[in-house]
Amino acid sequence: MTLSFSQSRFRDDYSFANSDAAIRRFPFPFDRDSYMYSVNMEPHRAAGPEDSVFQRRFDVDEHYLSEMADRAITLQRDPMRCQSLPHMRLAGWDLLELIMTAKAEDYPDLFALQRDGACWRWINRPMGIDDRFTFLDDATLPCGPMEYITRQTQGDFALLDQRQGNLWMDAGMITSQADWSLDFDIGMNFFEWHAPVPRAAQMGIFQRALKFLLNVQQGAPSRRLNWTMTVNPRLDTSPETYPEWGPEKRSLTPENVGQRQFLRVELQSFWRLPRSNGLAFPIRCYLCALEDLVTVPKWGRRLHRVLRDLPEDLATYKGFAVNRPLIVDYLSRFDDGAPTSPGIFPD
């Protein structure tokens, strides 16, 4: 696979666009024609077509450089999007090692890692980085290890400390979030940071998910897909900047909904970290416009049925209740009532 990187913006003129190949490999999150919460974990190993987003441990796609540029802008405006409580320093090094080794193995044409004891050399060719540093020595990096590596890796990253039979959101690089604040949630446990989610707690979802996550083992990562809806291809839908993107949510019309309404999918994965015993929690965001999604007939049919039948409280929580009639009306044009095949991949 030869990647060519786009130069597009997730803000201002919203020049972001998916290539045909990116649309085909979009991680469509619905494996059936309806949706309800579930503990939808599966092993994070290669799956799907050859170019699927599940083929490599940390997927690198055509938006890599654009996403890293967007992250840099967000961090410049609000440095608190990247925070680490003091006891998470070791977990940050764990994460750096995990990502560097995985990327160098999975994308040898893009990344290289040379290790001589604690003396490491990291080469990131797309970003033009060639750095030498001493592993576990913070002073040899320009910033903390978590910040250093996540400025070079697509997706948000939370680092969870494990203690007292719970997981604690004690560090993170969060610049492409679906409306939650790291600065507010840092230090919370698993139940606390999920507190605003309707219905799922009563369904026992969080108890079961936590039990699973506490037992994730080294070398056996897991993953799940989560989703929401975003107007315009905007990564930074944080509560902090809600006054900037809130008005855009009310700008949809029957004429522009296909172009400006995006399905936002999070590929979440969970990795036990070897030294800290923490859990790395990457939250990788993929965006796809409705007009692009419906070019896959199965997805057009299915998304129409899922969004049409979704309980109102979930639509409200996911922030698109106000636009649901427009969206469903648009999608109905692509649903001829034909049956759909099981699973998420295109036919």
Partner: protein, 192 residues
């Protein structure tokens, strides 16, 4: 003490009445409303009087409380707590009583100083006023009694969420008219 409403979300703090616990020392922090709760606690467990140290915030010192250090206002609380924790040892128990704003702030300061959450008890006394953080400009409003309220930092109208951060000792305030600028509902009093 009324039970917490069943619809409260899990990050919403619950404040049980203070109970005496064994410990080498006791640090008590209260405002005028909470001083009564401390007096009741000390009446219930007179042994605590010998080791208790009390920070009383913005209140006249009642005659029945021992070892009181007056603190002029919440802005002086951080320094007062830092002073009180000088030389503190494992086993210290903290007892907080007062408005949600006071006990939320005091808990956040104690946690920042390294106290374990399990060593801090809290009892809410007084009205439903909440300590709020504006998620946009991060300004803390200490005693918010209406929803929505106007952020004293950025001037935005914020709605009062139930989501609570122990680390900040505050609930979250979010712009209420972000999607429809200028459309702000009439504020109503926060329910207890």
């Amino acid at each position: 003490m009324t039970p917490a409403p069943a619809n409260r979300i899990p990050s919403h703090p619950t404040y049980a009445p203070l109970q005496p616990r064994p410990g080498h020392a006791a640090l008590m922090i209260a405002d005028a409303g909470g001083a009564v709760a401390l007096a009741q606690l000390l009446a219930q467990a007179p042994d605590l009087r010998a080791t208790a140290r009390i920070l009383l915030v913005a209140a006249d010192v009642p005659p029945d409380l021992p070892a009181v250090t007056p603190v002029p206002g919440t802005e002086a609380l951080e320094a007062a707590i830092a002073g009180a924790l000088q030389g503190a040892r494992m086993g210290l128990q903290a007892y907080l009583a007062g408005s949600q704003g006071l006990i939320g702030q005091a808990q956040a300061l104690l946690l920042a100083q390294g106290m374990a959450p399990g060593a801090i008890q809290m009892q809410q006394c007084g009205g439903p006023a909440r300590r709020m953080q504006c998620v946009h400009c991060k300004t803390i409003a200490p005693d918010v009694v209406i929803d929505p309220y106007r952020c004293p930092g950025c001037g935005r109208w914020l709605y009062v969420r139930d989501h609570f951060s122990r680390r900040l000792g505050a609930f979250q305030g979010v712009c209420i008219d972000a999607e429809t600028p200028g459309l702000v509902p009439e504020p109503t009093e926060i329910a207890p």
